[in-house]
Every structure is written in structure tokens, then in C-alpha cells.
Symmetry: C2
Subunit: 129 residues, 2 copies
């Protein structure tokens, strides 16, 4: 058996607020200057953004918690060849740009969001260029 039988559990570090209430409204991918949102971090994780600067890019790792986890193929293509949120483990990655950070480090204002409102955030990362 070369695959892992165990599962992994992750606790969100925060949540992202966006203008998109359902998937018909959300852009297909992020990156648009017009699409603004805010990550709100749980207080215990704010030390994790020490050094984060407005104007820099940030990869937001989030859960498409309303996506269908039972889809493996759509329109003749495997989901692992796409970025559709519908997939067995609906973990999404959106490259955003930081606009502002609140003094208490709880709120990170972003441009380029494509998440549904209230999506759970698992991680933030510096992009590779």
C-alpha cells in the first residue's frame, strides 16, 4: 500500500471576507484589481504576519467549503488538470496583493480575491516568482 490511509486535520487560521456570495458571482480566478477582500486572522495567529508589507503579493490557501468533493472529471478533463474548486480536497490557492494591514495585525486587506465570502483560510505564503 503506497498511499496514506490516514487523514489530516487542519484548523483555519482565519476567514476571508469578499463580495462574492455564490459561485456565479466569484471570478474564475483571482488577480483583478477590482476584487477586494479582507482576511481576518484569529488572534492567536497574528504573530505569523510579522514583516508582511503592503504592496507585496501573498498566496492565500483557503478551503472551498461549499464545493462538491465528489467530482473527479468535468467536461472530459480530470479535475487535477484544472483549478476548479470542485475536487476531492477543495484546497485553493489565490495570489493576491496586500493593500493594508491593521495595527493589531488581525485584518489584511487584499486585492485580487476570488473566494466566496466567509471562506476559511488555512495558510498564507510568500509567492515564488
Amino acid at each position: 500500500m503506497s498511499t496514506h490511509p490516514r487523514t489530516f486535520e487542519f484548523r483555519p487560521i482565519g476567514v476571508v471576507h469578499t463580495p462574492f456570495d455564490d459561485s456565479d458571482e466569484a471570478p474564475r480566478q483571482g488577480g483583478s484589481e477590482a476584487d477586494r477582500g479582507t482576511v481576518v486572522l484569529a488572534e492567536e495567529y497574528t504573530a505569523g504576519i510579522v514583516g508582511l508589507e503592503p504592496g507585496t503579493e501573498l498566496d492565500v490557501i483557503w478551503v472551498a467549503d461549499r464545493a462538491d468533493r465528489d467530482v473527479l472529471e468535468a467536461r472530459g478533463r480530470g479535475v487535477f488538470t484544472t483549478r476548479s474548486p470542485a475536487r476531492p480536497n477543495p484546497i485553493c490557492v489565490t495570489r493576491c496583493t496586500v493593500r493594508a494591514i491593521s495595527d493589531d495585525r488581525r485584518r489584511i486587506d487584499l486585492v485580487g480575491v476570488d473566494m466566496l465570502d466567509e471562506s476559511p483560510v488555512l495558510d498564507l505564503k510568500a509567492p515564488i516568482h
Copy 2:
């Protein structure tokens, strides 16, 4: 309360075999032609790579299952401004290139790996360019 109290559970779709047995051996980031590895998919997920072509890039979403999950800052920087595997939810993203795919779609040979051997794989995605 604007953060999600619930946790999310993910079951690996497979595992990645690489030459790296500990983090001193693994490259800091992927992308090197010299670093070859293989994702072995669990049989029930092979339909998810229909249409995947050798020569294309693929983002591998994997768990750094041996990383320290209690780190928030290192060398004066928050972990969310880095790509270190040590972070509360050690979900990593490595951009690889597909070399070959086995006929049964179980094995995807890759270049550019940086994972430790036997790391669990949660997802595969087409990169955004």
C-alpha cells in the same frame, strides 16, 4: 466571532516518492531539473488526471507531515511571510513538470520536486501563468 471554529479533514489522494529522506537533503524550493520524483495516486483518484500531458507544469499540494506545526515566527519573520514548511497548517505547494504518466494513471513522474520522501499528496492543480 469571525474565525471558523471548525476543523477540516482531508484524505490524501496519494503519496510522493522523492530522493529526500530528511529536510537537510531536500532543496529549499522545487524547480530543479535534477530533482526527480513520482506521485503515486490511490486507484480511486486516477480519473482525476484524465487529460494530463507530459511536458506540462503541475502544482503539487502536499502535507509536510514531519514539520513543526507550533512555529509562528522564525528569525524575526512571521511564517506567513515565508514558504517554510514549519507553520500551523503545513500545506505546501510545489510547481513541478510532468515527465511521464503510467498507462494505468497511477504514477506521475515529475521533475522539480522538493518534498520529503513519502509525503502525502492532497491535490494536483494546473498552474496559473
